[in-house]
């Protein structure tokens, strides 16, 4: 086995294992930390797929932005137990059997589809960083969607602050 495949296996196990622990745990904060590990493993997988630009953007956005948002959401919606005065982060669940079997059937179906699918993927291996191509593409061919994404982000963040405001 080549070292690249070993690195892939380690990162895939990190990603899948922490996603599974996100599913298994009932503690909201543990799930947020497991999501951090999932995003870390996913960024590594992006690097192995030669998408290093996306990996760095993904790390910045998810670890620096989304995870902080989620932690603030957890802190702002705390539900203190009136009897003990402690804040329990444990969440309730519906029955586990049916959702887990639905998830398992989704996984098996997709696995079967991906394995049997008639993919024609015989492109030559390029295997290098795509930083230069992505930078050039975003400022020439994809300049309009890029600017549109910026405006969209601005609108969404202003809208989020407006929605979160106290309207009393």
């Amino acid at each position: 086995m080549s070292p690249l495949v070993i690195a892939f296996l380690v990162l895939a196990m990190l990603t899948c294992g922490s996603a599974l622990s996100m599913l298994w745990t009932k503690n909201l904060l543990h799930a947020a930390l497991a999501m951090f590990l999932t995003m870390l493993g996913l960024a590594g997988l992006y690097v192995l797929a030669y998408a290093d630009v996306l990996a760095v953007a993904h790390l910045l956005v998810y670890v620096g932005g989304v995870l902080i948002l989620i932690l603030f959401g957890i802190m702002l919606t705390n539900q203190t137990d009136p009897a003990t005065g402690k804040n329990h982060l444990m969440t309730r669940e519906s029955g586990r059997l049916l959702p887990f079997s639905i998830g398992l059937s989704f996984f098996l179906g997709l696995f079967w589809l991906f394995t049997k699918g008639p993919w024609v993927i015989n492109l030559p291996v390029t295997g290098d960083s795509k930083l230069r191509e992505v930078g050039l593409g975003l400022l020439t061919e994809y300049a309009f969607p890029f600017e549109l994404a910026g405006v969209f982000l601005l609108i969404a963040l202003i809208g989020a602050t407006f929605v979160a405001k106290n309207h009393d």
Binding site: V5, T15, I70, F72, F106
Partner: protein, 101 residues
């Protein structure tokens, strides 16, 4: 230098998608449900990246960058909505949102 087959990435993304669906179905906390949605989004993103791995035109990579932006917007808006729902109902479990009428 050997190349990692695309099908490995597809398997990981199938696993992430199935885990996200299970989280969506099994958890009652709204923030938990949001995390499941994020997992599904990232599974789709991993698929796009894997298919554009050796593609010279890099279309999947560009699309996945824009998917990332839209995912962040969705997360910010959804958490703001959760905050307002918490102010009104003092609860964020999905089965406790009941109409008063």
């Amino acid at each position: 230098m050997t190349d990692i087959p695309v099908i490995y990435f597809l398997w990981v993304s199938a696993f992430l998608f199935a885990t996200g669906i299970s989280i969506l179905l099994v958890k009652k906390n709204t923030i938990f449900v949001l995390m499941g949605i994020e997992l599904i989004l990232n599974a789709a993103n991993l698929n796009l990246v894997a298919f554009s791995k050796n593609d010279p035109s890099l279309q999947g990579l560009y699309l996945s960058i824009f998917v990332l932006v839209v995912g962040v917007c969705e997360m910010a808006i959804a958490l703001a909505i959760i905050l307002q729902v918490y102010r009104n109902y003092r609860a964020i479990e999905v089965d406790q949102f009941k109409s008063e009428y």
